[in-house]
């Protein structure tokens, strides 16, 4: 008799577990549906500090205590969550649109922007710093669908010493990379998940046209170009000019990578160990945005203001090695001295990108990865 009792008890526990779990599930649903009212509840009885989740790509590495000021001013804490490369972030954000994994997303660039906007992953917001933001970058989001936070250029980088030692001229154009002089020297992050990789693919489309880029990539591949998963692997593992001391002296990276190599080297070398081929650059604009479905829209707006404000923007050049989007932000001297700002970077119409991106990636996969 006792035994049957325990057994019934067990069944009941299991049942309770399931129903209890169902109930919590349903109650979170209700929170979602009526996000506003719960928001008020939280702020009304707010002794518990709000924590915002900022989702960013893996190489998002601002100064360690950069959000302390923000927390001091607003009482809002910031938790940075790294979620892979930019392409992956946007794809996941598109699939979770309306029910996001975080409150704010940092790092959608102009190559991925169309995908993000089609999937309506962001809530529009006009930041109070809007008057100071780069106008060209603003033009890409006329209705404040997202907020530009920095700009940069993706270019071919090369290991200066490697070429000097062998007395070979470094490659200066995209076309040059298919020459046998540079056979098996190039490493490229895959455009499928990596945003510099995608920028480079778009650079080749801008340079060789919609009909010519396929042939170009075929010859790149025949010439021994190595495609790796992400930028970190390409730059820090395979490239010979960085700390990883890999085998390949040519890499797709940023125009700001050479200053990074200089500024953080100790002792600082007399001449820059890496350099940029200015004719190969593609302009990248990065955006941040409030993820639609967040329960903390108001707090997230405050964070967007902070991200575009001078203090945070001035932190960017030496931590993320990008140019601030805020024109009022001062650039560090070292950064100005060593970095190169190409005058006429390669560009593609965002609408053209939006219409063709999937097809291009599909073709790329066919040509290069299979």
């Amino acid at each position: 008799m006792n035994r049957t009792k325990t057994r019934v008890g067990l069944l009941l526990t299991v049942g309770a577990l399931i129903f209890g779990a169902c109930n919590t599930g349903r109650s979170t649903e209700r929170n979602d549906a009526t996000g506003d009212s719960t928001d008020q509840d939280q702020t009304a009885g707010s002794t518990a500090p709000v924590t915002l989740k900022l989702l960013a790509y893996d190489s998002f590495t601002p100064s360690a205590n950069i959000f302390d000021d923000f927390t001091a001013q607003t009482g809002i804490k910031v938790e940075v969550v790294l979620g892979g490369d930019a392409g992956e972030l946007v794809t996941r954000a598109a699939l979770t649109a309306g029910n996001p994994e975080a409150d704010i997303l940092w790092g959608v660039d102009n190559t991925l922007l169309s995908r993000a906007l089609t999937a309506r992953i962001f809530l529009p917001y006009e930041t109070k710093n809007i008057a100071n933001l780069d106008e060209q970058a603003q033009a890409l989001v006329p209705n404040n669908e997202a907020t530009p936070v920095d700009t940069g250029d993706v270019c071919i980088n090369y290991d200066v010493n490697w070429f000097n030692q062998r007395n070979i001229a470094p490659p200066l154009t995209l076309r040059a990379l298919t020459s046998s002089n540079y056979a098996s020297l190039l490493v490229v992050p895959s455009p499928i998940a990596s945003s510099p990789g995608l920028a480079f693919l778009l650079a080749t489309i801008a340079e060789f046209g919609e009909d010519g880029w396929g042939e170009y990539w075929k010859s790149l591949k025949q010439n021994g170009a190595l495609i790796v998963g992400d930028w970190t692997t390409a730059y820090y593992t395979e490239f010979s000019g960085s700390s990883g001391k890999g085998d390949r002296p040519i890499v797709v990276s940023y125009a700001s990578s050479p200053p990074a190599e200089m500024i953080f080297a100790s002792p600082r070398p007399a001449t820059a160990p890496t350099a940029v081929a200015a004719l190969t650059c593609f302009r990248q604009v990065e955006f941040a945005g409030i993820l639609r479905g967040t329960k903390r829209e108001r707090e997230a707006q405050q964070l967007i203001d902070y991200l575009t404000d001078v203090k945070f923007q001035e932190d960017l050049p030496l931590t993320l090695f990008v140019y601030p989007a805020n024109n009022k932000a001062k650039l560090p001297d070292d950064f100005v001295r060593y970095s190169l700002r190409p005058e006429s970077p390669l560009q593609l119409d965002p609408d053209l990108i939006a219409r063709n991106l999937l097809m291009w990636l599909d073709q790329f996969t066919n040509i290069v990865l299979r």
């Binding site: 599930g25 969550v81 392409g87 794809t91 999937l358 599909d362 996969t365």
Partner: protein
């Protein structure tokens, strides 16, 4: 009597309600949605593209080759185990049973560890890992059937002058034929839909349909392409499944085990050599990749390190992964076992219900885990039913994947209960519930433990559906492992291998539990006969 029958069939119908609702909501609805969306804005251009043909072709041929190799590796083991009694036999049987129950991602990781990096992104690595995954299972299936061949048949043939090869081709092979065919079909299906192994070892250039669905949906952002592939996949597995049930149902699984064991003592050096070689080979092949995981969890290019294991204990990220996985395993176990009890009990009452349950619980097999993940993601995405972030979604999806196995562990035991036992109970005045509690439950209790263990094991290792549904805040062990491995850095790699080792240990512990408690599988019956 007729009244009793109505009562029973009503009970049966009632019992099927709960499992039906769950399968309907979490398997059928998502898949129907995928089919609906795909056929509504149909873009068959993808189907015509060379890429897709190539992927389907690669998926097929790698599965074929893997099946052939797995069976070739299984044959000597099955032969030895079925025909001889030798020292270390139990060890061979239990060790070769391990790979099949390992999470597929762990098998992938193991071969990353054991193969040189030049072989990592090749069809060879993939096929070898598939063979590893399935050969022990194939050896068991065929070996068990072989054990059931009455030794007097062999003796009679020998007495009549048949040579060993003639004996094999005229007696053994024809009897084994059906079991070999069945096993091949299962192994082929498993290799065809394999996901974790391919994600780990294939890379972007070696995509199967299953990984391509993930690649399109989660990395390329081409959800409609992914859905189309999912439809293709379901249609192919569906037809394979129909074929296999046609073949399978007639197999003499219940062929009476011979009263005399056909396992004989080894009486010649030649036999000793063959058996020794086969069992040492099997043991080596089974353990080498597992040892590789252990070694790689302790070694970087710089030398020996405990850093990977230390961070398992100290890193909050990894710790959170561990606890998430265990909580989900418990949730899965609760849901799957409960549904399985209902479904299995329903099969006892009348045959039509039994047939219905059998089809119902086969659906999650036909729909691959990746398709379940994708389907849930694109179906439950509109408020008020937006379940994409619900903590309950993963245990539910895992429970759907575990349900077919759990039901198949409980049903045979329930059906083995002789009807007169229940009739006696009700004649003595017990109602249906009392009968179930006093007759069925005590008998089925042990298989409930097995069903729970297998559900937990499925959940711990589940990677396909999880790679769609897991989010930043609830990463499970397999997801953590794949993320760690995709990043550069020696320490991260050792962490991934350490987590894989943990999964190995728990999977083995769970399978041990199943082996101890599930006394109904033919394996154990054969073992206890021996």
């Amino acid at each position: 009597m007729s009244q009793a029958r109505t009562k029973y069939s009503n009970t049966a119908k009632l019992l099927t309600v709960l499992p039906t609702i769950f399968v309907l909501v979490f398997v059928i609805a998502p898949v129907a949605n995928i089919f609906g969306k795909t056929f509504r804005d149909i873009s068959l251009s993808l189907l015509r593209s060379g890429t897709i043909h190539e992927i389907i072709w690669f998926t097929t041929w790698q599965a074929l080759v893997s099946t052939v190799i797995a069976l070739a590796l299984a044959a000597p083991v099955a032969f030895c185990v079925a025909n001889f009694r030798f020292y270390g036999q139990r060890l061979v049987t239990s060790l070769t049973g391990i790979p099949f129950i390992l999470p597929s991602i762990v098998v992938g990781v193991a071969f990353l560890g054991v193969l040189p990096s030049t072989l990592h992104r090749t069809a060879f690595a993939l096929i070898l890992a598939h063979a590893y995954f399935n050969f022990g299972f194939a050896a068991r299936m065929i070996g068990n059937r072989w054990l059931q061949i009455h030794p007097y048949l062999d003796d009679a043939a020998r007495t009549l002058g048949a040579s060993p090869s003639r004996l094999f081709s005229t007696i053994t092979l024809p009897i084994l034929q059906r079991s070999i065919l069945n096993t091949s079909l299962i192994v082929f299906t498993l290799c065809f839909t394999s996901y974790g192994v391919v994600r780990m070892l294939g890379g972007p250039s070696r995509s199967t349909i299953e990984t391509e669905i993930f690649f399109r949906a989660m990395q390329l952002g081409d959800v409609s392409g992914a859905m189309l592939l999912s439809v293709v996949q379901i249609l192919i597995i569906g037809s394979l499944f129909v074929v296999s049930t046609r073949f399978g149902s007639r197999d003499s699984r219940r062929a009476s085990a011979p009263t005399i064991s056909r396992q004989r003592r080894i009486d010649s050096t030649a036999k000793r050599f063959v058996v020794g070689l086969a069992s040492l080979g099997a043991i080596g092949f089974t353990t080498a990749p597992l040892l590789a995981i252990l070694v790689r969890s302790l070694r970087t290019s710089a030398g020996f390190t405990l850093e990977g294991w230390r961070s398992v204990a100290t890193s909050t990220d990894l710790w959170r992964g561990l606890s998430t996985s265990f909580v989900y395993a418990l949730g899965t176990l609760a849901i799957a076992v409960l549904l399985a009890i209902f479904a299995s009990t329903a099969t006892v009452f009348d045959e039509r219900t039994a047939a219905f349950i059998s089809v119902l619980t086969s659906l999650p097999i036909v729909v691959s885990s990746v398709s379940i993940g994708l389907g849930v993601l694109v179906t439950f995405d509109t408020p008020p039913i937006d379940w994409r972030g619900s903590q309950l979604m993963l245990p539910l999806a895992h429970a759907m994947i575990a349900l077919p196995l759990a039901v198949r562990m409980i049903t045979p035991v329930l059906q083995s209960i002789p009807a007169p036992l229940r009739q006696a109970s009700s004649v003595l005045g017990a109602n249906t519930w009392q009968t179930w509690r006093n007759i069925d439950l005590p008998i089925v209790r042990r298989s409930l433990v097995s069903a729970a263990a297998i559900s937990a094991a499925v959940s711990l290792g589940e990677f396909g559906a999880s790679s769609f549904l897991v989010r930043q805040n609830n990463e499970t062990l397999p997801i953590l492992i794949s993320r760690l491995l995709s990043r550069p850095g020696d320490i991260l790699q050792t962490q991934a291998f350490a987590l894989s080792m943990i999964l190995v240990v728990f999977s083995v512990a769970l399978i041990f539990l199943i082996d101890t408690f599930d006394d109904f599988t033919p394996t154990n019956r054969a073992a206890s006969d021996a």
